[in-house]
Amino acid sequence: MTDSEKTAQQVRMCAACPKMCRHVCPTFFAWRSDSPTPHGRALLLHHDNLGLRQLDERAVEVIYQCLECSHCLTWCLPEIDIATIVEDARRILVSQDRFPKGLETIRSSVLSNHNPFCEPHEKRVAKIRFKKTKSADVIYFTGCTAAYREHGIANASIEALKEFGFNVSIPDDEWCCGSPLLRTGFTSEALEQARHNVEILNEMSGETILTTCPGCYRVLTQDYPVNDLRIEKPVMHLSQFLAKHIDKVPKGNLAGGVTFHDPCHLGRHCGVYEEPRLVIERITGESVKEMERSRDNAMCCGNGAGFRTLFSSQAKKIGGERVRQAALTGSRYLITACPFCRNLLASEAGETLEVLDLPELVMTVLRKR
């Protein structure tokens, strides 16, 4: 059986499933309709595969109403990976010039500015405080969101790493990792960014490449190699690096209780669950108060795969629900390890819950000492 035949068989099964994962699908939560659901997307693709109904404009919208969070996969006994199947479908739609035009800004901005936010490339590191160094222990690949929207994360990361005795360098000419484009079907445009990043990262000296963005981490460690792009240094998410050097992280304390939101790209997509918790527990002196839905059952924050750009009110609704779930733990702090998640969750959190990214938490505790 070929890969495409196997995928068609999986789509066929998912299309006729009695909706065993729908209750955890964040887009079902947002719309409360059977259209933006895993089985809904599969049914459209099944009909298209059979030549029964081609994807019309609404079907294309439904295909793009997926966060690719893979929460459905956690609940799928036959292990049907709808996020990947949706992404494959998006690639075809892009090749047919049938993608939602709301994504055009992201695409063109990444191509011309190397970030999806239409910000000037030359200002990429303008808000990041760092000194150029020739011999670095670690290269910090900031990612677009930490560079332009959540520079507090970038600065806290650099400060924390320095505090723990590591020399940090930042690429002079980092481009978007390509994640927003890969997740929405713009493969060739993404690979243009990727090739550049691989070239500059391989030229830099440093033992390890660190990311704070799980989207970047997934792309650098999974999508680049799949496309024969090899980074010649180990790539780690900051949480993994700090967990590896946990003895350098001081034992701290932080009152009020801490809960942790697992980013989809870090958790379900890359299998990193324990490391951020280890760091949180070390630096706060407290056990993580787990949400009812955590680790591979964590709800998506609502920000990813082009979703917030296209469907901002639904993204906020999903983020608001995740904040509500965090508040149920009674924690003062909602920690995540993703600039994307941090950004959306913080926008929906009220006064009672402080949302911090992992390095921000570390520096918050260190500054209080």
Binding site: A16, H23, S35, L43, R53
Partner: protein
């Protein structure tokens, strides 16, 4: 199906009630919303057949909006098919005559939890698992845990007169529903207030529990709550045959023991469901038991039940098979490569009979169904003091779709005929929908006239879910 002009005119009127974001005329939405959990629908989806679709789908948020929608439908004489989770297994939400699919998923509020009276008031569109998790947080359970819990919702539970896997102890949805709000086809919103019981004439709630959207739209319910049990214990006993297993069950109830779970698997179902995980002698029938409650009472009930089973020739398998079933109780609902390949189709005829007829019904149905090239396996579950249900599960795989659907129909026809002939009732908890619609008159006999008269009074135009429950079938 309606013509384009009528459709768009109707959609405009519906949009003025619920907002334009909550009405759709798009064919893609109609196709996706038609998807239910009737095995025949699922098999047709797999083989590339389109299911019947609605002309328009509307998503109300309040009972008042539902009332206004029904006013438009009545005036335009357009069919209305209420749909909740879309998880029904009998085709009850398929819009076979087009019209409006009235989707209740946005009516998803848990309105009030009354801990003193142990009641929860909810809108009809709350999904079962959402409700169960919410009351669990406060230390309660609804006691209603059908296998479709993740997909079905409160309105669907009530509309189909459903039963959960622990119905022996906690009761069925008709026992659990104390209050009800229904919108009638004439747009009147009626409320039956939640009371432990009453003696004010007939219990009108029961008229709508199981009405499958043919008499009105259920918009809100008040359900009972139970404290989460201090202890749940599992026990498994293997019997040499169905007869001795059933006799043991009968004795257990007769002796005043009420387990939360009672499931006796026939030799075929035991082999398929359990022999991969446990060493079981060919031909044995596994009985799965669970006991909920206070520690001392659970211990006593379990001890007495085990004694009865041993007296009826059972072998003790400890908690293993029963606990495994509990932990994997949703697994059988997932599609597998085997059960979905080619033109395969399986289904369950969930019948019910008193103890004096259970075995005869079982053997007669099995024989009738097996005549049609079907593999049949069964378990007796949802057992009570006076009898219980049989899940007559069948599976067939044919060379083409046409043959498969014909064989499927013959298995149903002959299976139900055997059930009725031997004194059973054709559905315990799945409802009637389309799959059993044509048998309703035979099932209810002279009482069917009453149902038809009620229908004629409440829904004189016949807009409510036509073709289901044996009512409003158009030639």
């Amino acid at each position: 199906m309606l013509d384009g002009k009528t459709k768009s005119g109707m959609a405009e009127r519906l949009a003025s009630i619920v907002g334009s974001d909550n009405v759709t005329l798009l064919e893609t939405d109609a196709v996706l919303n038609a998807h239910d959990a009737w095995p025949l629908s699922e098999a047709k989806i797999r083989t590339g057949e389109l299911l019947p679709i609605a002309d328009v789908i509307v998503f109300p948020e309040t009972a008042q909006e539902v009332a206004e929608i029904l006013a438009v439908a009545s005036e335009m004489e357009v069919p209305v098919v209420p749909v909740g989770g879309g998880a029904g297994t009998c085709g009850g939400t398929l819009p076979i005559y087009g019209g409006i699919q009235l989707d209740l998923k946005r009516m998803d509020k848990i309105l009030h939890i009354d801990e003193k009276s142990m009641l929860v008031r909810v809108q009809a569109g709350v999904i079962g698992i959402e409700l169960e998790e919410e009351v669990n947080r406060l230390g309660y359970t609804t006691g209603h845990t059908p296998t479709s819990l993740r997909a079905s919702n409160v309105g669907g539970f009530i509309a189909t007169r459903s039963g959960g896997s622990m119905s022996s102890l906690y009761g069925k949805i008709e026992d659990l529903t104390l209050g009800l709000e229904v919108v009638l086809p004439n747009s009147k919103i009626i409320r039956m207030k939640p009371m432990p019981r009453h003696s004010v004439g007939p219990d009108l709630r029961q008229l709508f529990i199981g009405s499958e959207g043919t008499l009105g739209v259920i918009t809100e319910a008040t359900l009972r709550l139970f404290p989460r049990p201090e202890l749940r214990r599992f026990r498994s006993m293997a019997f040499p045959d169905v007869h001795r297993g059933l006799e043991a069950i009968r004795r257990i109830f007769r002796d005043g023991i009420t387990p939360s779970v009672v499931r006796l698997y026939d030799p075929e179902d035991t082999a398929i469901s359990m022999s991969n995980h446990f060493e079981i002698q060919d031909g044995d029938c596994m009985l799965l038991l669970a006991f909920d409650g206070l520690r001392e009472i659970v211990a006593l009930d379990e001890e007495k039940a085990v004694k009865i089973c041993l007296e009826h020739g059972a072998k003790d398998y400890g908690e293993g098979p029963s606990k495994r079933w509990w932990e994997h109780r949703y697994d059988m609902y997932y599609p597998t490569e085997l059960t979905t390949s080619g033109f395969s189709i399986g289904d369950t005829i969930d019948i019910v009979a008193p103890y004096d007829k259970l075995e005869t019904v079982y053997y007669s149905m099995k024989a009738a169904m097996e005549k049609h090239d079907a593999f049949v396996m069964s378990h007796f579950s949802h057992m009570y003091q006076n009898g219980g249900s049989i899940y007559m599960i069948f599976f067939t795989s044919q060379r083409d779709a046409k043959t498969a659907w014909e064989v499927y129909k013959r298995i149903w026809d002959d299976g139900v005929a055997a059930c009725l002939r031997e004194g059973g009732t054709m559905s315990h908890q799945h409802g009637v929908g389309l799959s059993r619609s044509t048998y309703t008159e035979d099932e209810l006999g002279s009482a069917f006239l009453v149902l038809k008269m009620i229908k004629a009074i409440l829904d004189p135009i016949g807009i409510m879910n036509p073709g289901k429950l044996g009512l409003g079938v158009k030639e």
